[in-house]
Symmetry: C2
Subunit: 128 residues, 2 copies
Amino acid sequence: MKFLEEIHQESLSLDHKNLEPDDENAKRSSCPVEAALKVIGGRWKVLILRELFGGIKRFGQLHRALHGITQKMLTQQLRELERDGLVDRHVYMQVPPKVEYSLTPLGKTLEPVLNSLHDWSTKYLTRS
Amino acid sequence: MKFLEEIHQESLSLDHKNLEPDDENAKRSSCPVEAALKVIGGRWKVLILRELFGGIKRFGQLHRALHGITQKMLTQQLRELERDGLVDRHVYMQVPPKVEYSLTPLGKTLEPVLNSLHDWSTKYLTRS
DNA sequence: CAGTATCCTCATGGATACTG
DNA sequence: CAGTATCCATGAGGATACTG
């Protein structure tokens, strides 16, 4: 279980020794899981990704599919997903404008992760 | 891929019809993945869980292990984890107080999920 | 159509002090 | 030791209006 590997360099040393002064809790996520959650966290990311797993979508399609999201949030979240390399943005130079969003290869690698979350949730979080 | 199953009942109907008035985007997460992220989301949850995967821990141990967390946040996050059934809280009736936290069986079922997030992050999110 | 540009609210998260 | 109790900053998220 790789999730636990890092425990034993951080917390083991803290269990018998007392607090250490090498504490520079600056920017680096002490844990890869944290980093992953930053990328797919937030209120809309996974919902957007879910839509895109269904194929290429235009901005308006996403806007309608995600009931309640505002244009600002949709744009913003899409930009973040784009910046993180999960989503590809294709602008057609025409008028009226047409912009299509799709998953990048990297974005598609998220599938097992999202399935894992999905499975756990449906299996164990069945208290609505 | 179970993650995609629900797409085809929500977005398919929205793709050819136009917006529907049955839009009651109230409380229910439209997606189990969302629900899962609510439980393990936030800044500290996974870090706390990571510590507890290492075994039973006292409040003070957690407080020291999670550099930078405040007592308030630690208490709050632990209560939420407890309310969600992931963490068990055992109070020893003695003075000075002693409280131990541990993973419940449900909490332990999160291991594959966290491993999945961890694996993805280390494999594909290697841009520090 | 697919955005910007403002302005605004409020929950998340935090600092500090006190206590059974 | 393991908390409460306050007060406070910040920013994520949203409403609304305007535009290339």
